[in-house]
Subunit: 401 residues, 2 copies
């Protein structure tokens, strides 16, 4: 008997398992942590910036000295000193004084505003004519404005982007605690499968799922430990699954999962470990199954490349993210449907789609071929009880990548 | 005198230069080409699939034999043979006959439809009871359905995603022609800059732009050839720029580009090559300049980390994409603004933003600090003549990543 689940039920079951075995942290140089998942909150140990600095080239002033100043009625202030870039001023400003400060330079104590160079004029005898009113805090970045000491500046679970690398640099966090990448093994099953380098004879076909799933795992932040084709030979499959389970956090098996002569993979899983569900109420992806061999998570994906890719996106990718302790963000975009999507209802359905002009075009295909996915920007979800979606309706598009 | 351009003018000027020196192609194994840019159309040399195959487990039939068949009135067909997975059938189907075919198996000649196993029943003496009407073409993928011989299946200029890797596998394209990655050198200028591993003394600050721009280049598909800090010392800067230009397709220099004591980098560029513009009518990013040293493209970015990052996104990333011959796709999403964005007008303005609930929140900061960008999902563009955008308006968000 099949134990068929909805996608949400399957996701909850598998994600709960993944969250119980989030991968350990390891240390990486911050410059090599792009795309890795931060394992611990990055906490600020000091104010950033550490001092109040100017955002313009000009003069540091006591703002009240300049109230009402204009080109016709400049305020005349004594030049008390010049701040050098990268150096802390060794003097302070008193009322009636000003100091030259470059962009990014430290504000001398006593000053509370900057006046831009363009609104000043050198005057005789070390005096500067200030031709505009300064307001307290004007043209300044205060100490701690960017990040206050003690505050979390990049939260654990975040996938590190270039701007996060920048924040880590600003904080001096040059060694970063990131999650180890999950090790994934991938088995493509089927007597008909040949290496993509080969030329199919008779009814042979090239293995598409092996390379596609490997690339999708890499893109999702996993390490691909092992990829192989396995014939429809139960003892061979059993042996391969056993071996792969030992060295991997996650084992993906494509093909061989439809009910009939070929559910050998699910049988092997039952023998080696535990089947948690067999069958998903999702189109495409019905023959999906999953379970565990020891602590290794196992997912059986459909043999059809497009169906396998959808199940990767819908189920496997969230599992990898859960193993990484990643805060998952699904990117979506709303767009108007350029053509109706018919649906029989009864099963949740996912349809590939691409953006065209201002709208989104469903890429219909009776079998969901991989070439369709290559043209797709994402997919549209059709709820279980909907009878399709009409042309012109606004739909949410879940973006691939 | 500054030669100030709008962003569009600057982009057109720089992209035209980049398109004249698109990088040469090189060969990569298809399994290692994830994220690379395809240099030549991938053309199908054969039909994919190469034969017509079944999408279900069941029986291949001549559809007209089954018209009107039902559970009460089954059509009785003689079992002519069984198709094995991965093998071409050595028999054909005549009217009155059927053949067992597994999911993915090749349809025997003579048959034009499949009937699902669940709608059949074995009968006495090699006869099969077909209990449903077959329609021609039902449950079949025809030869060439996925890709027809001679058709372009992945176009040149596409960034290869996992599903493209799958298409290349299906076609047997195991060596892929991809663009070489542009070599980029990055110089952070300023006496105040120290290594991120150090502890700032006085008015020193850690170099944020070097690591941020390096990660952003990597993310954009470039190779980072060289990253260094350079003091505000003209002869040193001149020498570094000269050296970097020799080994790089693109040289990025941050800081030292505002008018005043510190426009040494633009002066050096004028001495070593040609300045094409100095000043962008964009906020943030006004002090941006660009030009060439020989064939090497040079961009001077603002010293402020957030401004530098914006200019990378707005100007440098498109240039890298042009050097890669990449078909550029800017991901955008529409969302409702949760707070008003004030603007002085007069300059095109870019504001970082993050998605919250169903809307998008502008992340205002007088100086555009890097920690703000770390929290941002993308940015909002405010046109030159707009006086800000009101709360509740729907805006287009350009996504980072």
């Amino acid at each position: 008997m099949l134990n068929v689940l909805s996608l949400d039920e399957a996701l909850e079951k598998m994600n709960n398992l993944c969250r119980m075995q989030v991968l350990p942290a390891e240390t990486a140089p911050f410059g090599q942590s792009l795309g890795r998942i931060l394992a611990k909150d990055a906490v600020c140990t000091e104010n950033v910036p550490g001092f109040t600095r100017s955002t313009v080239d000009g003069y540091a002033v006591v703002a009240s000295d300049t109230f009402g100043a204009s080109e016709a009625m400049p305020a005349l202030l004594r030049l008390a000193g010049e701040v050098q870039m990268g150096e802390s001023p060794d003097f302070e400003i008193r009322p009636g004084e000003c100091a030259a400060v470059p962009t990014g330079g430290e504000l001398p104590r006593g000053a509370d505003a900057m006046v831009m160079l363009e609104q000043t004029e050198p005057f005789a005898g070390q005096m500067i004519a200030i031709e505009a009113s300064g307001a307290p805090g004007r043209h300044l970045i205060f100490a701690g404005d960017d990040a206050k000491a003690g505050s979390t500046i990049v939260p654990a679970g975040k996938k590190l982007l270039p701007q996060d690398i920048g924040v880590l640099a600003a904080l001096g966090v040059v060694e970063v605690s990131v999650r180890k990448r999950p090790a994934v093994s991938i088995l493509s099953t089927g007597d008909e499968l040949i290496d993509p380098a080969g030329t199919p004879r008779g009814a042979q076909i090239r293995d598409v799922n092996g390379p596609t799933l490997a690339a999708a795992c890499t893109q999702s932040g996993a390490d691909v430990a092992f990829v192989a084709r396995v014939p429809d030979d139960r003892p061979v499959l059993l042996e391969k699954m056993k071996r792969c389970a030992q060295g991997s956090n996650l084992l993906l098996i494509s093909g061989g999962s439809s009910v009939g002569a070929k559910d050998a993979a699910a049988d092997c899983l039952a023998e080696l470990g535990e089947v948690l569900f067999h069958g998903l109420a999702v189109k495409p992806g019905k023959p999906t199954f999953a379970g565990t061999i020891g602590k290794t998570l196992v997912v059986g994906l459909p043999g059809h490349p497009a169906a396998a890719f959808f199940i990767f996106q819908l189920l496997v990718r969230p599992m990898i993210e859960a193993l990484l302790g990643q805060a998952t963000v699904r990117r979506t975009a709303n767009a108007m449907l350029t053509a109706a999507i018919p649906s029989n209802g009864g099963r949740e359905e996912y349809v590939a789609a691409r953006f065209v002009g201002g709208g989104v075009e469903p890429l219909m295909s009776k079998s969901g071929l991989i070439s369709v996915l290559s043209r797709a920007d994402g997919y549209i979800r059709i709820p279980r009880d909907a009878e399709g979606i009409a042309q012109g309706e606004t739909v949410e598009v879940f973006l691939f990548s």
